[in-house]
Subunit: 436 residues, 2 copies
């Protein structure tokens, strides 16, 4: 019998308990596939006495995670504590320094400190793996890093936040408004009590930063991501998008461009997009995640599945552990950290797209003329325009338009021309249409 | 610089030429990701003088593939010759015996001889990999074998043949009949001149046999697959399915069951199914492939992409090569061949499903009474029934019905009761409805 791979588990929330349940349920199968037993030897969490629905009696308990990471009977540390810095990061660094490989589901930590952790791991010949940090149970880090490894990646994009997708698709199905559906998502446990990270696009941006680094061989650059969330989307936007043949999805997207003969630059954005109904992402409902990657030989690949939850996340954590048990040891970001490039952020102004703009205006003469003049002056050509009175509010009117394809800066210019206008009751909402 | 991985390429059809083009286009990137250069040193094909659109002058040419496989300057052989036996199999065996790892896109060979090849590879500490044999460019062997490795697989199913999917979705879009669309698919190069392997479900069954072995830790059992093709599907079937809220797709499916306290048995079937419009597979059009796997922790995962073509297939071949270059060396079928189980084929008679039946009958009194009596006598409860005259044929009438959920043997019994009936102009066409 081959030597067991001995694991220390830090963090016993739903995912940590899920990993224990998974190993209890599928341990025999996992041993066969991994070629050796996988055993939890020690666990650590804040509160020893809490009932987590799993029996911890056969594992050593350590109050101090760092002490746990250094134990002689531990080969690999699983970090499920969460948070980009603080105890999770301290544990991660200490585990690697103690010569233990590290598996984590912590997207914030990898988005902010993944490079230094990967460097530490590489310098010691250890593995750092984080499949569960991106899109829950979907093996998309593996699909990108290994399955599509032969390809130059033209574009990678997807639905990376289940909470936002649940909120948007429920708004779509029910016609209800944002705040109302968010409240329900919180009651159902899909959204945190403080949902800001989800609905402002931060969580999706963490995942995008990780994917784009692997896809483009670039140093992780979370701060360069142009991100906005879904808080301003109204039931009326969903309805108008629908009448035009689109659904609204929060999309994280990365690609590259090049100014003249300059070096490649990395474009990264998290924004709500209008997705055509015949696009595979349009059918992605509820808390599901999906990632599309387009490679220069493989064409378009789609990976879809549960983006969160204890079972799917535990499945991804354990897939990483099995890889390590099997001896898979290549670089965390596909190429060694020293070979990742510093890619400057791409400008977005020259990018061509069609845009959806929604104006909330007071119902008085001349408003439409003012808006359309601003479009004209900024060089934006309008493809369609709808003006509708708002139910329940005699004075607020919605003006919705879709532009022809134009450079993004033209739309930005038009919006600027309207800044301070007394006709607008709030700043216009701008969303792009997802291109083929 | 690390030692290069030196490759011999056997077979220079579109995929073989695609591998050369891929390495020419993306070689630098691939070297970075693989951690070492990947070099083609020798090539072999039937006809040396044929123009393949690639420059072969920097590779050694070998007329004899076996001689090529034994060259000292070759570490790994890529078999792209095709055919389950004959030269491909001879080469594969000789390559492994000469101590070279083997990468192949040959689904027929792996479905028929994969176990003996894997055994040979294992006994010599070599790699055998065949990502490109299943679903073209989609990394689904990897997704199943590694990404979902922590899961018991509840069910695996998908669209595994691009030709059939092109034909069915084109019939759907255009209302045209089978023969007409198949002819077009041949003209477009999607279907072989002899399309039997595709349209009779043999090709899909090769892929299913490989997937189910990995999913269930079972010895590959191609012969046990209950397969039927799409040749009997008419435009009228597509139209009726559509009016009921379904599309027709050729689905390969595997799961397991157990009789009383007996051992697990493996169910494998390739058949046209009625797929509900809101199922992710319903949106899969044209020559695209898609595989769904359902795991006991990860839930439902979907992998979708191009199922054939030189670029996607070359991408999958190269992904295997990169894995080998990175030192990934685990068992071809996820567990060593000696640990794969002999699983008996599952009976299908007791399986519960809803069925679609289409009868082609002569237009005379009593026919409906005869059919419905047979259903009643076999214990099949009819959910809906439509009878329609056929355009252009005054004497032929279609009777289409959908049953309530019942054991499959009841439907078989009903069909048997009608055998030899003078009312039926051809045997009934039976398809199942894909369950959730």
């Amino acid at each position: 019998m081959a030597e067991p791979l001995r694991i220390a588990l830090a963090g016993l929330g739903t995912v940590g308990a899920g990993v224990i349940k998974l190993l209890e349920a599928n341990g025999t199968l996992i041993e066969k596939r991994a070629g050796r037993p996988i055993q939890i030897t020690a666990v650590s969490a804040r509160d020893r006495s809490k009932d987590r629905g799993v029996d911890l009696s056969s594992y050593a308990w350590e109050d101090d995670m760092t002490v746990m990471a250094a134990r002689d009977d531990v080969d690999l540390v699983v970090e499920l504590v969460g948070g980009s810095d603080g105890p999770a990061l301290t544990l991660a660094r200490n585990a690697l320094r103690a010569g233990k490989s590290l598996v984590t589901a912590n997207k914030a930590m990898i988005a902010h400190h993944g490079l230094s952790l990967a460097e530490e791991a590489e310098s010691r010949g250890l593995s750092l793996k984080f499949e569960a940090a991106v899109a829950g149970g979907i093996p998309v880090v593996k699909g990108l890093r290994e399955g599509a490894a032969a390809n130059e990646i033209d574009r990678i994009y997807g639905i990376l936040n289940g909470t936002c997708n649940y909120v948007l698709s429920t708004m779509e199905d029910t016609g209800r408004d944002f705040g109302d559906v968010l409240k329900e998502a919180q009651d159902l446990g899909y959204a945190e009590a403080d949902p800001e990270f989800d609905i402002e696009g931060v969580d999706a941006a963490h995942k995008l930063a990780i994917l784009s680094a692997i896809a483009y061989g670039a140093r992780v650059d979370f701060d360069a991501i142009d991100k906005s969330g879904i808080t301003r989307i109204r039931a009326a936007d969903i309805a108008e998008a629908s009448s035009l043949g689109y659904v609204i999805r929060l999309i994280g997207m990365a690609d590259t461009d090049r100014a003249a003969d300059g070096p490649l630059r990395l474009f990264q954005r998290v924004q709500p997009y209008l997705v055509p109904l015949d696009h595979p992402l349009a059918a992605v409902d509820g808390p599901t995640n999906a990632v599309v990657l387009e490679g220069n030989f493989v064409g378009r690949l789609l990976f879809q599945g549960a983006g969160a939850g204890d079972g799917p996340t535990a499945s991804a954590v354990m897939a990483d552990i099995i890889d390590i048990a099997r001896g898979e040891e290549s670089a965390a970001f596909s190429v060694p950290v020293g070979q990742l490039e510093h890619m400057a952020p791409a400008e977005s102004g020259h990018r061509l797209s069609r845009a959806y703009l929604r104006f909330t205006v007071t119902d008085k003469p001349g408003v439409l003329a003012e808006i359309t003049a601003a479009m004209r002056d900024a060089g934006v050509s309008i493809e369609s325009l709808i003006q509708k009175g708002q139910a329940g509010d005699a004075h607020e009117v919605l003006v919705v338009m879709v532009t022809h394809e134009c450079a993004e800066h033209c739309v930005t210019d038009a919006v600027k021309l309207l800044e301070g206008s007394e006709s607008l009751t709030e700043p216009p909402l701008v969303m792009r249409l997802l291109g083929e």
